[in-house]
Amino acid sequence: MKTNSSEHRGQCNLSFTVNGRTVEVRVFPMERLLDVLRHTLGLTGTKEGCGEGECGSCAILMNGELVNSCLIPALQAADANLTTIEGLAVGPQLSALQQAFLECGGAQCGICTPGMILASQQLLSKHSSPGMEDIREALAGNLCRCTGYIQIFEAVAQAARVKADV
């Protein structure tokens, strides 16, 4: 993926995998990945809260790592494997984390929820049974103004237990 020069203002082709589907899009190289997901691909589950990487509402998984998509220039996603909130449920079947957020009251207004669930997903992929301190630390880059976080912590702990039982 190359542009002709640093002055080049035109769009270029970009290919990546999102939620298991390979897509090819025309983007401005410095366009925010967040906008490519939301506007070009219509994946509006990823939210914008602050636009400067502080709130985590736009968090997605990129090659398994949690990133704030408002800080990622589109070109950086070339050939990457992305997961957004739309990629977690299998048909009508919610993921363990989605189910736990629903049951434990982890989502109130819902605007931080997609990023929060993806941050939790990344935690559980590294830590199958995280302690409270692990959870608090893993979610510290995702702001929630509604819940006071307590029911989010409970949701993550419950999802970890459910996964362990499987």
């Binding site: 909130i85 957020f101 009251g105 995702n142 006071g148 307590i150």
Partner: protein, 748 residues
Amino acid sequence: MIEENVIGKSVPRKEGRDKVTGAARYIDDMTLPGMLYGATVRSQVPRGAIKKISFDSTIDWSEFAIVSARDIPGKNCIALIGDDQPCLADGRVNHPEEAILLLAHANPHLLRKAIAAISIEYETLPAIFTIEESEQQSQIIWGTDNIFKTFLIAKGDVDSVWAEADYIVEGEYSTGAQEQLYIENNGMIAVFDGETGITVWGSLQCPYYIHKALMALFSLPEDKVRIVQMETGGAFGGKEDYPSMIAAHAALLAMKSLRPVKIIYDRTEDMTATTKRHPSRTRHRTAVSKDGKILGGEIEFTIDGGAYATLSSVVLSRGTIHAGGPYNWPNIRIRSKAVATNAPPHGAFRGFGAPQSLFAMERHMDRIAQVVGLSPVEIRRRNFLKTGQTTTTEQMVQENIDLEKLLDRALKLSDYANKKAHFDRENEESQIKRGVGIAAFLHGAGFTGSGERYLASVVGIEGCTDGTVRLLVSSTEFGQGTNTVLCQIAAEVLDLPYGNVEIAQPDTSQVPNSGPTVASRTAMVVGNLVQSAALGIKQTLIAGGDLRTPYSAEEFRAACRNYIAKHGDLRSFARYDPPPGVFWDDENYRGAAYAAYAWAIYVAEVAVDSLTYSVTVEDFVALQEVGRVLHPLLAKGQIAGGVAQGIGFALYEKVVWQNGRMENGQMTNYIMPTSADIPPIRVYFEEMGNVHGAYGAKGIGELPMDGPAPAIVNAVVDATGTNFDFVPLMPENIFAEVSKTLSPDGER
């Protein structure tokens, strides 16, 4: 007692599935064909006359829709209580960030450049920025005296108490502005059509407030303005009044361009231009007997309203009524006022004046305890309001409340006595100083005084041929659980499974005005109306012979179908009717201020690092009596969320003002609590068996905002032995105060 099916159970949140899958549709997720993006050109000065507006010729302005005050068809104001706030400045600006011009273009990226290419020349006028400057009246910026509103509450004979007092305790307390900081920024989309009028979709709390504002602004009849609420990503009062402004702006641009127009604020615009919690100052002077009984006192409560009146009079009212806390005042005089400054208007934020005056009251109780030589526990115990006594507005406490019992339980849950003893022992030697603090408080549910009578809210329910029912309310969901709780109430009344009750999207062309979603009124007041309207459906079906009790959901469906086949539709409406014998005197501010109060005792434990002066809240117990808990999971979520906001109010969230403008309008420099800052928030409910709203529920949403700040600051005072009488209490403030008590060589 009949076993309830749905009430008291934590049924799934109605819109929860859409929220955890990312399918929920917020305003920025919506796009219309041919849509333009709108932006706002704002005042750079706090006060002045606009002399000249120039448009840089490097921009092709013919591509833009441009709107000024001259394009407003009706009255240039945002109609709310008074009509003093212009929609667009016309010649004069009274605060930084006041809207002057509007632009729209198909390419959102060009808007920023266009705004930068407009230069506005002002003849600046002297401006005022603090309560004290406003009081001095060196500049009159509003009315004849800079005062939006005053109240006086007088009970007993205060002037007689000073002579018999053993102690007279005085204190002055203040609270700062606080940003609501919902994670979804404000946004609106408007469409204008010569035939059908204006339609606006947006992130908002009060569809009918916007409806009223746009009717006045455009001189349109009510059927030519339609407001629709999209999923709303947090509000906390911050989307009560200002959305009328944004809807007005989007609609003006839509009218001018004849295209759909979307306005989405970025975070800095949202933080600097829209409302915040009113900064406050409270002065207490209290006469106390030697055994710690309050004999009487004077309270002077003042809030900074910013440049226009907006909601300040009602925020002041609630703050004034709550200023005496949950205590028995045989004699009291409370004077309050809201004053003008050249800052963007302050507005609604969870608690609505009460967190300010209750912070003062609860800090002052600890001050009184110090002076009298009693513990913070004992001073409260001796002064609690009891059933049969009257509040400061002389409202008789008729509920069977027992605040001492509530206090004892909170002390036990928090292990208060052991902790206190332990910290007193350990603090001397330790770098980390620990302390515990208490706050006792109350919060009135619903509109103040005659408010609900004036609102006269209406709720509708319709039965459908498939046997489901649909609630028709303008009450909005923005995280608190409106959808879920109102559906629970209807399901309970109608003996239907919760899943058979739905709630309509708030749309003023489809739903009646059930009032604004504010003031902790929805579960209690609107819930009661849902109960009545649901009962109406049931009685209609039974009276017509279509239904017989007991019935199954299938029999209910057949009854609905029969009824609709015969009569066309099945609808029931209920309108608010004030309870008999409730008296409120608006002139003298006396009587039943609220239909019900929630009561609470919060206990905070803090650790203050004597090296960095940072404060960590290590444990938090929140015990409250909110009547019947309709949905335990949602109720706990409301309390924990409110406590977290209260922690921010107390310790982290400082608005830095520079000439009336918020200078730290970013999430990177205005710091709200993260998951790493939150202690275990342990939430408990006491149900003392009072029946108020639907199934005995009282208001709950705002209550948890009132207690954390005083409990935390009381705990910091306990830990450090130094009095602090303001929030936010930042490490630098603690350093400044504590270092005063150090000797020159740094030793104590």
